[in-house]
Amino acid sequence: MAFPHRPDAPELPDFSMLKRLARDQLIYLLEQLPGKKDLFIEADLMSPLDRIANVSILKHEVDKLYKVEKKPAFSSSEQLCFLVRPRIKNMRYIASLVNADKVAGRTRKYKVIFSPQKFYACEMVLEEEGVYGDVSCDEWAFSLLPLDVDLLSMELPEFFRDYFLEGDQRWINTLAQALHLLSTLYGPFPNCYGIGRCAKMSYELWKRLEEEEDGETKGRRPEIGHIFLLDRDMDFVTALCSQVVYEGLVDDTFRIKCGSVDFGPEVTSSDKSLKVLLNAEDKVFNEIRNEHFSNVFGFLSQKARNLQAQYDRRRGMDIKQMKNFVSQELKGLKQEHRLLSLHIGACESIMKKKTKQDFQELIKTEHALLEGFNIRESTNYIEEHIDRQVSPIESLRLMCLLSITENGLIPKDYRSLKTQYLQSYGPEHLLTFSNLRRAGLLTEQAPGDTLTAVESKVSKLVTDKAAGKITDAFSSLAKRSNFRAISKKLNLIPRVDGEYDLKVPRDMAYVFSGAYVPLSCRIIEQVLERRGWQGLDEVVRLLNCSELAFTDMTKDDKASSESLRLILVVFLGGCTFSEISALRFLGREKGYRFIFLTTAVTNSARLMEAMSEVKA
């Protein structure tokens, strides 16, 4: 249980500085509008803000706080400040507010603070609505939120849809800036690896930034020896699987939001909900977060027994001992008690939910899909899921898993599943299917690899060189997943003799009950072992990334051996808690430590919702 790190495991850098920087900058920006003002905060920014600042800190600058909503605002303040993501709808909202004031003959000061950056499209809307100039704009470059000692999140879930569905590269600069900030704070990264189109572009832009602001990182000792950039579309399969390590399961069941979770009355066994921070500081959670769920119950009850024993010690104590006990131990014990009962409650609630939805059968189907047997049976299972109107997201997820593992659905199955899906969950999901096809998540098997009609038409119009680029662009959108071949090549399905002992995991497959090693983590493991992509040509080709896998090693003798065992993994488009657990495991095995930077923590449901056209 809760395997300790090897004694030689490197220390993690201290990321709390990022929080301070963000907070200082925000306060500074607010000061730019001196005097009393009301602050309107976009809902999506509230939780991240909560993690770095609080009312007391803001209240020096701000009179009242509001949420940016569709409703008109009733603020009597002479100065309004808006803290928002750079989104068109926010601009329309602000513009309507300003214009309403204008009609009423009211003059106030308005300031918009974009986080993490401003987009030109937003300014265009302000200009079109006639409020450009009435509103002053600023940027709050808050793009790295330390959610835990080893986890940095950009809290940009929209990164996934914007890039992987729409092909919009707006966040690449944000990411490059964030990497630039990290390298100025924690020294240069001597070894860089990456795979994927977005990873490559981000890397290039980041390097350009470093060149432009030359000299800053020179002469500094690197704190983190390696950086690995990985596009989410290298591995959709892992993200689509049901999670069975505790933290992942809690995320799938209750949704961890910005590092904290709302446990409802069914967990707290009271009539109140509790908001609980989940991170390494929660001692109980820290010991079970990476565990396979089947171990968690046993661990918690053992822990409960120990606790009982410690409480029991007070019997037979004399007054002095009792005084000591109360003043020194009782508080800690009580806290542990609360945490224990909370996580036990969460486990019970998870068990109840999972039994109700036939989790066993579901997992069995997923494993069959991963291994590629009984495809017909799995297809029938999915069909029944749809017919019974079990959650639309679940059904969609299973269809995607079937599609990616099988290189697309057989046309007959595709049609029939799609029809039944539309009948069960609503015809407007036609749009969702179109999105999924564009993102390569749910496709129909096509005969051969011939160019599509549009492609050849376009090719005729342009020179050879450009045509190559276009074909490239097309294939990136509709590429074959080749999952089966990759799985074979990288040995993702472990051969198990007898039972896989989940208590003593032997490889990263434990995060999926020993049935599957997460592809993303396997790629990272292999590249780190080989110090590059040598010998992985076939895998890279199967991933459709022949031009998009890169290595960049600088000879840096200043890098300490400790720093060379620290690895920053950047997930573009989101990573799951299962992947984090798997890499933590790998780190423990090899004496590395991983640091995770993700555009957002994700899971299968979030991926599917991002593709869904029908907002709940």
């Binding site: 706080l65 499209a121 940027e139 509790l274 015809p427 450009a466 662009a473």
Partner: protein, 492 residues
């Protein structure tokens, strides 16, 4: 850009930056100075802050007032004059309840003065003396948007670089098509989507759409940005023109169809869907669109009719089970459920009859039976359930058949609290003996368990089951009778 001179002056006079000069050559230098000054000023207010807080709010170890919570409060008593007071008092309140909240419990003093790990954790001022201020807070305190670029001499690469840094930069000098395209290609080569879009906004304004489309057709990255931009700002007309130009007929159709989501009024939505029917969808999708239209058309009729029936109060099923929601815009399967619930016995000729729905939308047998079963079981109409699975062969014998497997039937019945006698009947129809035994045990169909054990001649299992039934019950008697019977040849 269109701010008047007076405004401009007023703004600058009121801002802290009046001493700042707009000399482009000096841009980087003054930027540096500015940041330094900014950060220095930070230290001042940070210290103030500290003392202030220690005085007014008890800080050490106290939970932190959460921002989300505080906003809820403002929403609740908007306009109240005690608000500030309340906020202050509530600072010790926490939505994180009484749990350890390490990450959010900091005292300000430790934050700014503490060193947890010498060498790596630096206070802000330390950090600044180590490395250039610029790298720590590169843009701190400099409202970027307020920089004006009056010089028009930038070439494409400089222009793109300035755009990337968030500076307002005039693009007006790029007048020839060649210049414009060069600018676009430079933007694309930098990978920054925000800049690509900025250039596209300029091109959209200064090029006729035919030329713009033609140039983008061979520049896929830029094209994707334009499409996304048009979607976001809702310029549907130009988007459709673009798809038409590109001959992307399916996307054109889908894009048009998407608009129905914004139409709330059911009649109008229906009319809109009608306009979608002829659009160039794939053959398969055309059928789905047609179905969508037909479905909504039916729902409107059913809804009007049933609302009338319900309010008249003459129909028993509506009186006993008032409708919870309108059937409009519900999926087909939900509609079928509804019609099985309220209109089960209607003749095929009416729009609301299940059979009519089944025929119109070619609902597969399996799906139909599943839905009808759930609806009739919910109403506890067991004879309807019975009829659903009863078939007659040509000799007139009846037989039970279920396209979905009787184990599913049993589960659905159980979920709807069917009585044991009913459950028993269907458990008995499960073919696989193990499944049958499992289900029977799970749902306490004692007779089935007992009979199955007898048929399997499994004395041990029967013996084990005896402990599960109530003492002195008829079941126990039955088991005892069997166990004592000498006519059975037990296998164990």
């Amino acid at each position: 850009m269109n701010r008047t001179k007076g405004d401009e002056e007023e703004y600058w006079n009121s801002s802290k930056f009046k001493a700042f000069t707009f000399d482009d050559e000096d841009d980087e230098l003054s930027q540096l100075k500015e940041s330094k000054r900014a950060v220095n000023s930070l230290r001042d207010f940070v210290d103030d802050d500290d003392e202030d807080d220690l005085e007014r709010v008890s800080w050490t170890g106290e939970p932190v007032g959460s921002i989300s919570w505080s906003i809820k409060e403002t929403a609740g008593n908007s306009g109240s004059s005690h608000e500030r007071e309340q906020l202050k008092n509530r600072n010790s309140f926490s939505t994180y309840a009484q749990l350890p909240k390490p990450a959010s419990t900091y005292s300000l003093s430790s934050f700014f003065r503490g060193r947890t790990r010498p060498g790596s954790f630096q206070s802000l001022s330390d950090a600044l003396s180590d490395t250039p201020a610029k790298s720590y807070a590169p843009e701190l305190g400099r409202p970027k948007g307020e920089y004006r670029d009056y010089s028009n001499d930038w070439g494409p690469s400089d222009t793109v670089r300035r755009l990337r840094k968030g500076k307002v930069c005039s693009l007006e000098r790029f007048r020839s098509l060649q210049d414009k395209i060069q600018l676009l290609e430079e933007a694309v080569s930098m990978h920054d989507g925000n800049v690509i879009t900025a250039v596209l906004i300029f091109l959209k304004r200064t090029l006729s759409k035919e030329i713009l489309f033609r140039e983008l057709e061979v520049r896929q990255v830029a094209l994707r940005h334009l499409i996304h931009f048009l979607k976001e700002i809702g310029d549907q007309k130009l988007l459709l023109d673009l798809f038409r130009f590109l001959d992307r007929t399916e996307e054109l159709a889908l894009s048009h169809y998407r608009e129905h989501l914004n139409i709330q009024d059911p009649e109008k939505r229906k009319e809109f869907l009608k306009t979608c029917i002829g659009l160039p969808f794939s053959a398969e999708d055309s059928a789905h669109i047609q179905d969508h239209y037909t479905l909504l058309e039916r729902q409107i009729i059913i809804e009007a009719n049933d609302r009338h029936l319900e309010s008249a109060g003459q129909t028993e099923v509506f009186r006993k089970h008032p409708r919870k929601a309108s059937i409009l815009n519900m999926p087909l399967v939900t509609t079928l459920f509804y019609s099985c619930f309220y209109h089960y016995t209607e003749a095929e000729g009416t729009f609301s009859s299940p059979v009519n729905l089944k025929k119109t939308f070619k609902i597969p047998d399996k799906q139909y039976v599943l839905t009808a079963l759930a609806a009739r079981a919910k109403l506890r109409a067991w004879h309807d359930v019975d009829a659903l699975f009863t078939t007659k062969n040509w000799l007139g014998y009846t037989k039970k058949r279920a396209p979905i497997g009787f184990h599913r039937v049993v589960e659905i019945l159980h979920r709807n609290n069917a009585p044991v006698q009913i459950l028993q009947e269907y458990v008995n129809l499960v073919e696989d003996v193990d499944t049958k035994l499992n289900l029977a045990t799970k749902f306490k169909c004692h007779d089935v368990v007992i009979d199955t054990c007898r048929d399997l001649k499994d004395r041990q299992q029967l013996l084990a089951y005896r402990s599960k039934v109530d003492k002195g019950s008829a079941e126990e008697e039955k088991i005892d009778a069997l166990l004592n019977s000498s006519q059975i040849r037990w296998k164990n």
